[in-house]
């Protein structure tokens, strides 16, 4: 068990996977950095440093800096995936999915289906998500459910270094296109890495959630950066006598319904906290699925806690008012579930 940051865990995984498999290539903007600048020999390694050292190690034949043309290079990724490579494409922020959305929802998502499974599409789109750093309305969105609502795309939202590494490894091996969403606020988070006896990263299956903590009174569902808020809230609620069970589904699609139902069966109460859409987002999806599948267990109305249905604001006070937080979780839990 090594303690490592979330960002370094991803970097380590990319290094390991690329070393093990020649067919893995990566492409994106500034992922090596300094392309075409004469005296430049210092790698940028992506704006968050996740791709550091890859170009130096594997060469610019496999680590491609691209022009700022997401449609072209995401499409290139899927075309390469359909013809024998395993591309890992970086789209700097998921907000930029807007400029390449056709390549995601119509091309990547549908190709395996349209080929009736004659084509496998081992494509990973790495991207960032989430607010909290004053990046404003077009660099802070949480579009995990939006992409998960598109049949054919798999969506991963890790919350810890170990999950980031293990899930990235599995995503790269997946024959389905995977949208791999890294919350910007987590890059600095440190934690242990799970390795096997040979020092290999232990892969984590897609579709398998995780009990962050066990509890009996309320099921808190959270992903990405919200997991930490849920943990802090649970600490506070524990003092108030409410023992929360926290579930991190880790992947949005496939979604681990078993763990969700199991938990709600135990607690009878559901609070989903999410940074995504207030309408038809991840929170609505979970509340709906649980209401349908575990209705009999519910002791009271399920509750979702999301940002308001507005774009992400910029100013610090505004952003704080916008984002779910442990304080808001506590307040929400007490208001809805304290009798």
């Amino acid at each position: 068990m090594t303690a490592i940051s979330f960002g370094d865990a991803l970097n380590r995984t990319l290094h390991d996977c690329m070393a093990a498999d020649d067919s893995i290539i990566i492409a994106g903007e500034d992922i090596a950095g300094g392309a075409g600048i004469e005296d430049s020999d210092v790698e940028l390694g992506g704006v968050f440093g996740v791709t550091r050292g890859l170009a130096a190690r594997f060469g610019t034949g496999r680590v491609l800096d691209t022009p700022i043309t997401e449609s072209a290079f995401v499409g290139m990724g899927l075309g390469a995936a359909a013809t024998g490579l395993r591309p890992v494409i970086e789209v700097m922020f998921c907000d930029f999915f807007g400029v390449c959305f056709d390549q995601l929802i119509n091309q990547a998502a549908k190709m395996r289906f349209l080929s009736n499974d004659r084509i496998q599409l081992p494509l990973v789109i790495r991207t960032t998500m989430g607010a909290g750093d004053g990046s404003g309305a077009m660099h802070s969105q949480s579009l995990h459910a939006l992409v998960a609502s598109v049949p054919g795309l798999r969506v991963v939202c890790p919350a810890t270094p170990a999950d980031a590494a293990g899930l990235l490894k599995t995503s790269i091996a997946s024959p389905d296109p995977v949208i791999f969403m890294e919350h910007k606020g987590l890059y600095g988070l440190t934690g242990p890495l799970r390795e096997d006896e040979d020092g290999h990263i232990v892969p984590i299956p897609l579709g398998k959630g995780r009990y962050v903590r066990r509890g009996t009174d309320l099921t808190l569902v959270a992903t990405g950066a919200m997991v930490q808020e849920a943990e802090k809230a649970a600490d506070i609620l524990a003092v108030r006598g409410m023992r929360c069970e926290i579930i991190d589904p880790r992947t949005i699609s496939p979604l681990d319904m078993e763990i969700l139902i199991e938990s709600v069966a135990g607690t009878g109460r559901l609070l989903v906290v999410d940074e995504g859409a207030a309408f038809a987002g991840f929170a609505d999806a979970v509340v709906s699925k649980i209401s349908q599948k575990a209705f009999a267990f519910l002791k009271s109305a399920p509750v979702s806690l999301t940002p308001p249905h507005t774009p992400v604001p910029y100013g610090r006070a505004l952003e704080a008012a916008y984002l779910p937080s442990h304080e808001k979780i506590v307040e929400c839990a007490l208001r809805h579930f304290s009798k």
């Binding site: 067919s23 290539i25 034949g61 496999r62 491609l64 691209t66 022009p67 043309t69 449609s71 072209a72 290079f73 995401v74 499409g75 290139m76 990724g77 899927l78 075309g79 390469a80 995936a81 359909a82 013809t83 024998g84 490579l85 591309p87 056709d102 390549q103 119509n106 091309q107 190709m111 395996r112 289906f113 349209l114 080929s115 009736n116 004659r118 084509i119 998960a148 049949p151 054919g152 798999r154 490894k169 599995t170 091996a173 997946s174 024959p175 389905d176 232990v202 892969p203 984590i204 299956p205 897609l206 579709g207 398998k208 699609s253 496939p254 979604l255 681990d256 319904m257 078993e258 699925k289």
Partner: protein, 328 residues
């Protein structure tokens, strides 16, 4: 030109023409689920183009109007017809349909329902060929209307910058649906692509000799230089945007049919009249029988959808590597 080759071109082009005409009849009888965008007029160019390719390492992507390309790449015609008819023996068991023909095994990676959607993926096929060192190239075919789509200019730039072996084919039939290319396109195609520093040639599909040379030169250029090139092919659109469309917006343009031009060319090059007739009737018979055979097959139904529903289900790991984990 070699008359044997001319004969082959003629057979294939005539086959495609007959194949589509036969399907159009089925469509009129209400037996085709979707709208048919026929390639009437583009067959000769497409056949000659694809004759320069090697389906073991090259990949072609095409637009909504790609029946001919799939066939020119030697995709099994019964499977193509069955796919267009939405039947179980189709390439994708009828899941994809007329605008979504996928046959990477014969070098036809994909056609596309989104104007321009097929173009970026060609850069990917080219990248694969380059990284894996297969010697292959990618060819992507799209229309004059598509030419203005951002995804296409982006991909041309990307292919140039990364030196990817992609041959871009602008099939300029003068129309995007009901809109004239001259109205929709500022500047000229050739100038625009040359301004990217990409090698480009324009060819009239009625000039058989030129088509043969240009497709040969440009595929070789892309293959040998590992960098992109463009062909603007002037092809007529001999029918409506789709079969059965109300074409009232069209004036009466008269354009020569490249298939007739090819016939004449073959005749002038020494192929006998009866040989030509024989080629044409064989092509028609083969095409008819392929379509007829396809039409006899079963429609796919619930069980196939059930399979896919399970596979892609939001709560299913089927089709995904569950490395060391249980299937949820």
């Amino acid at each position: 030109m070699d008359i044997e080759i001319l004969g082959k071109y003629l057979f294939k082009a005539a086959f495609i023409r007959s194949f589509e005409q036969r399907l159009a009849q089925f469509s009129q009888k209400g037996l085709v689920p979707g709208l048919l965008h026929l390639c009437l007029g583009a067959e000769v160019f497409e056949v000659i183009l694809c004759s320069k390719l090697d389906s073991s390492c090259d990949q072609v992507t095409g637009s909504h109007r790609s029946h001919g390309l799939a066939l020119a790449m030697e995709t099994d015609p019964v499977s193509v017809a069955a796919e267009i008819l939405g039947l179980e023996a189709g390439l994708s068991a009828g899941i994809g349909g007329t605008q979504h023909l996928l046959a990477p095994e014969s070098g036809f990676l994909s056609s596309n329902g989104i104007v321009g959607g097929q173009v970026p993926m060609a850069a990917g096929a080219a990248l694969s060929a380059k990284v894996r060192g297969t010697g292959g190239i990618a060819v992507t075919v799209f229309g004059d209307g598509a030419f203005n789509q951002g995804a296409i200019s982006e991909t041309m730039n990307l292919a140039a910058v990364l030196s990817l072996p992609v041959l871009f084919i602008v099939e300029n039939n003068g129309l995007g649906q009901s809109t004239a290319a001259g109205y929709a396109t500022a500047g000229s195609v050739i100038q625009r692509v040359r301004s990217l520093g990409i090698a480009a040639e324009r060819v009239d599909s009625n000039d058989i000799e030129a088509v043969d040379t240009v497709t040969d030169t440009m595929t070789a250029w892309v293959r040998n230089n590992g960098s992109p090139a463009v062909i603007e092919a002037l092809v007529p659109r001999l029918g409506g945007h789709y079969h059965g469309e109300n074409e009232a917006y069209l004036g009466d343009q008269k354009v020569p049919d490249p298939l007739h031009t090819l016939e004449t060319k073959a005749l002038n090059s020494g192929l006998a009249e009866d040989q030509i007739q024989d080629i044409l009737s064989r092509a028609r018979q083969d095409a008819d029988s392929a379509v007829e055979q396809a039409a006899k097959l079963y429609p796919a139904g619930e069980s196939l959808m059930a399979k896919w529903s399970a596979k892609l289900h939001w709560n299913s790991g089927v089709g995904l590597l569950q490395a060391g984990g249980t299937d949820t």
